[in-house]
Symmetry: C4
Subunit: 238 residues, 4 copies
């Protein structure tokens, strides 16, 4: 523990990582306009760093990101946080092992969300990252929409993950809205947002070629997921 970073330098590193990650969302074409935001958490201190609301990606700096506690109280910022902050906070509270969250309106993933269809696991590219479909939330009712809408969005995600391991399915579609992704840290969350767009694109093109295509067999899905993520993983330089 003596090698642990000081509080100040660790939070600086988090600000830097979250800033880079938000800019990456834009550079990869995942977040046009100001659609999208990424956050990271310092679990030890219970502090979250997130994009400010409505600020163009070209104006982001580590210093103008917003830091809050897990209840959304602002620790230090002249700017308001992303309006989606309450969704991020619900995810951090429910999914204890995640360190970053990314939200985009990337085009193909958003199309599946608007179509109210989960993204089925149609091939090994998908299975390399998701041990099953990319799930979709159920529709929220009037009461959930009218008050505490953003927190209720998070709760709808958490309900959908009852019985699922959020690190084996590191993302979700919010119906009629768009995807959320997560990971061990904010960079992994952004990577996963890009992967979700990739598998959404592949699936979109696939059903155009064969509308009746079925998900791949469990044995093939598990083979691919586990050769990357299982105990006997042999992909990469591990």
């Amino acid at each position: 523990m003596s090698t642990k970073k000081s509080g100040k330098s660790s939070l600086t590193a988090l600000r830097n990582a979250v800033c880079r990650a938000n800019i990456e969302l834009y550079k990869r074409g995942l977040a046009h306009f100001t659609f999208g935001n990424a956050s990271g958490i310092d679990r030890e201190r219970g502090l979250v760093v997130i994009k400010p609301s409505g600020v163009p990606y070209s104006k982001l700096t580590p210093a103008n990101l917003v830091m809050t506690d897990l209840d959304g109280n602002i620790v230090s910022s002249k700017l308001k946080p992303s309006s989606d902050l309450p969704t991020h906070l619900v995810l951090y509270k429910a999914f204890k092992d995640i360190g970053g969250v990314a939200h985009t309106h990337s085009q193909y993933a958003t199309a599946w969300a608007q179509a109210w269809r989960e993204i089925p696991c149609l091939g090994t590219t998908h299975a390399d990252y998701f041990d099953g479909s990319v799930p979709i939330t159920r529709a929220m009712d009037r009461a959930e929409i009218v008050a505490d809408y953003e927190a209720n969005t998070g709760k709808a995600i958490v309900r959908r993950f009852e019985g699922l391991d959020p690190l084996k399915r590191p993302g979700v579609l919010v119906g009629a809205h768009a995807p959320f992704a997560w990971g061990r840290d904010v960079a992994a969350a952004v990577e996963m947002a890009a992967i979700i767009e990739e598998v959404a694109t592949l699936a979109h093109h696939t059903i155009a070629v064969n509308p009746n295509v079925q998900p791949i067999p469990d044995v093939l899905r598990e083979k691919h997921f586990n050769r990357k993520h299982g105990p006997g993983a042999y992909y990469g330089q591990r």
Copy 2:
């Protein structure tokens, strides 16, 4: 009122803004070739600045834009105005609160226009900007096409907006033609032209995944539109 810009400097600013906006149309891929034009109005003086007809975007300068009054009389220009000028003028006369108009042939929005379908509000990205569908005009008859075609295009738009607030639905599809967008100023009009292409793209991909998808419920659409544009808006740094 003493801080009001002099007439000359205010018109110079308008020329600069309209020039930037037209170039932006091209740079964002909304207007290929010479398909597209943007204009802005000085309401106090009743003067409109618009792109000259058929001039490539790379040759545009503030000085070679065309300035006219609201009846289309040229105030000062060696070049002819965009042939779509009469459409812009009808919109400025009918929609008193708009300060800029943008016309493009952006690909997905044009596809919906050619398909004679309004763009339904299928998700929250759309609802963030439009409090309903992106409407489409009815077909013009022979007489409307043969004479005063461009002015009649404007009138077809205005008729379609009877009972609608043009700032809550800041754009339209002209059937068999392409979109027009508008806003408080010319920059906002161009931004809205880009948004219309984005929602047209999302809707195109969505109906491929689920041809029977329905518009989102009113309560969700109003929630999103109002959190950005309503009296209690809480999106952005307001």
Copy 3:
């Protein structure tokens, strides 16, 4: 006539224009790999300049283009001409007013050609350039394919244009193959190749939104074509 360029300088200008046009095909994404070629003709001398066969666009220079007469006899070149040269020559002989031809495998236009469907005039973007559909040739029979295939491709195009004005429909789809475009000079031919890809793209996206869409009425098509190209044209700076 005294201002006419000398033979040498006029042929140099033609080589330069054809070189630029071929490179433009590549830069605009109309011709991937070595799929595509453009040529220009000096009508007075009956000489045609065309891309050499299978040479990458990055290696093209005015000097390594191939010059032939209208029967395909090489005037001066160390390289072989594009294998599509005989198609170009048939077009130059049949369509007396054209000065340039461009052939691409651009993606959406090629899709319509492979689908054996002409591109219907679905909107005003199309009508601004084509006074009707982009026509498609009929299938060639075994004899036409086995011998003189490329010349027979040209003849199939010419047959399709019986009764049509090639300057009012400045391009065609060769069924199962890809588009050819033409114009007053080689730059206009390349511009038209780009326009054909644009209208093919729009039409592809349109029929996805409405499979039963019909061509626009004649009166609207003629209005748009003639405001750009008719005797009373009022588009552009004429």
Copy 4:
């Protein structure tokens, strides 16, 4: 034989070519993330050079590529080879005339693979490179997936090519997975991976325009394939 390169310089040339080819996969947009790999073989020495597993394309150098023998024994490397190495090795053993293999998850080709449909020869662009469809493998059974999965993938490809000439159909779709391509050397294999994506894209757009389209007649397919690759080939500068 006296002009033969020394063993050392020839292996250096192979490392350089394989490095360039892998980077090319990425630059052409054929391999996003770390999805994709290319290898080359020195037939005389029986040595294969391949991308290391999970290493980003931006970090590749000739020196950090992995060299193995035809049984997969590592000759010299600190890094693990691509997990797809056994597939490459099976192809090298079965197809004696190929010198390079490329594997991608390019989007449209992967869509056809996920849709479990071979890519039919719908036009001359396709026929210029493939003397028939781009074939697809049959589904692998549980035993083939659970053990020696990657080698079994290669065997599934080889089985599909019984009776086919791998140089007349220089690539394949692995069902539910993605394409493999090959050629006389690694550069040709990458070129063919790009061609497969191109014809997959064209075919995808074609069936959207005409779902009932049929493959082109044999005579036309053979004409195009042979004018480029047959004994009397007349395309290019041969």
